[in-house]
């Protein structure tokens, strides 16, 4: 479980300042999560591990100062719930 949390932390911190490579090699900073409160985003998620992988869906909801998220597999079984505080760059 700690391993998954660490991997999710790395994933979220990298998502927070996503870099998109365009065809002419220009780099564009794009935030994948809207700033609108109440906005919901859904991601197909894969976490690669040395002995296999965890796949599923992550749903994130923007609230006033935090993002709440849930990762669950295709069968609907919840793997983890998390709260991300962007100002403090903290994941719990």
């Amino acid at each position: 479980m700690r391993k998954y949390l660490l991997l999710i932390s790395i994933l979220l911190l990298s998502l927070a300042s996503l870099t998109v490579q365009a065809q002419d090699s220009l780099t564009v900073q794009q935030s994948p999560l809207s700033d609108s409160i109440g906005c919901k985003t859904r991601y197909a998620t894969t976490i690669e591990l040395s002995k296999g992988y965890l796949s599923g869906i992550t749903i994130m909801v923007r609230e006033a100062d935090v993002y709440h998220g849930v990762l669950f597999n295709e069968f609907g079984i919840t793997a983890l719930e998390f709260t991300y505080q962007p100002r403090r760059r903290r994941l719990s």
Binding site: K40, R42, A44, G52, S55, I57, I59, V61, H68, V70, F72, E74, F75, G76, I77, T78, E81
Partner: protein, 207 residues
């Protein structure tokens, strides 16, 4: 004397009620077992609704299920994602997009247990799995309801309980509810059920 007689009558009524209930539960199990035994193949569409307690939200997925007695199962999601879980004997194929992974369940105790429980739950054989579940049965006008409480530690960590709803006429599973420890719930409703229709063997191919 009158008091003694009254106590005796109450005791008799209570005993009769308990034994009637016991007979009724036994009859329900018998019907479900008979239906499961006579089911050579089964195919259906399903709608899966995942209720997310933390986000106060839900997500709906749709798919198809194919079953062939006694060890073949294909559980395939068609929307909003493409994902297939195919069990054929001792091998499992997990297909997601372009990625296909084949697992030998004999080499993974966890997968073996998951595959067995999935198969048994779908056809209603889980009621007899005393090692895995403590079962409570009840009935209403339209359905039988079996509440399964996990007994194994790994399952207990995931689920609070599993509720199987059986169509009373056919004694077959019509709805499955998976209630997780933290309160999230997944409901799977089966529809357009076809029993004992031929199924193309390619459906269960594990490459």
């Amino acid at each position: 004397m009158k008091k003694l007689l009254l106590i005796l009558v109450v005791f008799c009524i209570a005993t009769t009620t308990v034994s009637a209930q016991a007979v009724s539960e036994a009859k329900i199990r018998q019907q479900i077992e008979a239906a499961a035994a006579s089911m050579k193949t089964m195919q259906c569409d399903f709608v899966q609704t995942k209720y997310l307690r933390m986000l106060n939200d839900k997500m709906v997925s749709r798919g198809k299920m194919y079953y062939q007695q006694s060890d073949k199962l294909r559980w395939e999601y068609t929307s909003p994602y493409a994902y297939a879980f195919v069990l054929n004997g001792s091998r499992v194929l997990i297909s997601k997009g372009n990625r296909n992974d084949v697992i030998n369940v004999n080499q993974s105790k966890f997968f073996k247990e998951i595959a067995r429980i999935m198969m048994n739950s779908v056809v209603g054989k889980a009621l007899n799995d005393k090692r895995d579940f403590k079962v409570s049965l009840s009935s209403s006008a339209t359905e039988y309801v079996a509440v399964l409480y996990p007994q194994q530690k790994q399952m207990q960590q995931m689920f609070q309980k599993i509720v199987l709803h059986f169509n009373r006429q056919r004694a077959m599973v019509a709805k499955v509810e998976l209630i997780e420890k933290r309160g999230d719930r997944t409901v799977i409703e089966m529809m357009n059920v076809k029993v004992n229709s031929p199924i193309n063997a390619k459906v269960f191919t594990v490459n």
